[in-house]
Amino acid sequence: MQTDDLISMMTADHRKVDTGWLRRVTWLAALAALGITILLVLATLGTRPDFAGAWMTLPVIAKALLGASLALVALAVFQRSLRPGLKPGRWLWLALAPLALAGLWALVTLAQAPAESWSTLIFGRYWRACLIAVPLYAIAPFLFLILLARRGAPVDARLTGMAAGVASAGLAIMGYSLHCPDDTAPFLATWYPIALATVTALATTVAPRLLRW
């Protein structure tokens, strides 16, 4: 086929194009994924026993905010990474800000506590559960985002994967904050970032295989 013929075909197929679709669908997919994750948390682990009294306390809000801020930054980068010619990668560094804040809070807490209590403050009771649950709850959001990424044109699949990983972990953290019974700042600043790093590393590795176009 001649290139000119191909251009004729493409012109014949042309219609009005909605360039905002990708952005709208990204936020809708994230909301849907958050809803599903929350339902999954409720259906599997359930809320923490003292949820009615605890949900307005600082630790629970801090966990949800950590997840939300990670997801917000990463989703913005994710959406832009599906558009060739933009280089949104450096904005992903912004995701480090909430982590740094959590780390600072943890250090202040540890500094004010006697050294004997540090281990309890860091490990809490259920650090293993956090490390397992957050990556598992991140699977559904990640699948949503990868399916969406296939409708875009990701020229840097590793960046798209990394952003999808951070976003999925953020959404999973929001969901898991309904259950997580450990409320200390050092716990939050240790296990959540490790879970986040695990999800992000896996997502970055897997994405290029799923996003060829």
Partner: protein, 194 residues
């Protein structure tokens, strides 16, 4: 045609492309004509650097790039340069093509210089090596007849549709399927060199 700088090209193409996105078919055609001229020069230079000088290979990657541009129009960000968008897609398809045909893309200096210099007037279209018509073989006879008519410049979709005994809407759907089939055909080539 004079060789425009990327900035000049952007200034010229941006309003045309925005009109095309709003649904103007004639604007879309002139955008595709202009960008394919530019991309042909870019791809020819980059392939030459990789030691590939067959004009048919340039045409293959160009057609693949144009299909990708077409099927990804919705990924264009209105606040960004349309030349950067087209260039990023062409670069992606070029790297993909080189990797598939057995050359590590890391060996290729993928800088933007060639895009700046591209579009020498002597870059004329040549035959493609991969025949995209083959991708259409799976489509129904009537659809292929329709596509053949649409390819003739000056034939409108409406005319081609009535000649093929289809409604205009059905004809548009059929053409879209044809383009998708071609894009799929190219992606499915997999690791096999053409």
């Amino acid at each position: 045609m004079l060789t425009l700088s990327v900035d000049e090209l952007e200034t010229r193409l941006r309003p045309i492309f925005l009109a095309a996105l709003a649904g103007d078919g004639a604007a879309y055609r002139s955008f595709l004509d202009a960008i394919s001229l530019r991309l042909r020069g870019y791809l020819r230079q980059m392939l030459a650097r990789a030691g590939r000088t067959e004009p048919s290979e340039t045409e293959d990657v160009l057609q693949e790039t144009l299909l990708a541009l077409h099927l990804s129009r919705h990924t264009y960000d209105r606040s960004s340069p349309v030349t950067a968008w087209a260039h990023a897609i062409a670069r992606y398809k070029l790297v993909d093509h080189l990797r598939r045909s057995g050359r590590h893309a890391g060996n290729l200096p993928l800088d933007d210089e060639a895009f700046q210099l591209a579009a020498a007037p002597e870059d004329v279209a040549s035959e493609a090596r991969l025949d995209l018509e083959r991708a259409l073989e799976t489509l129904p006879e009537r659809t292929r007849g329709l596509i053949d008519r649409v390819k003739l410049q000056g034939t409108s979709v409406a005319e081609a549709a009535s000649a093929a005994g289809m409604t205009e809407t059905a004809a548009k759907v059929a053409i879209h399927r044809g383009l998708q089939a071609m894009a799929k055909f190219l992606t499915r080539r997999g690791a096999r060199p053409p």
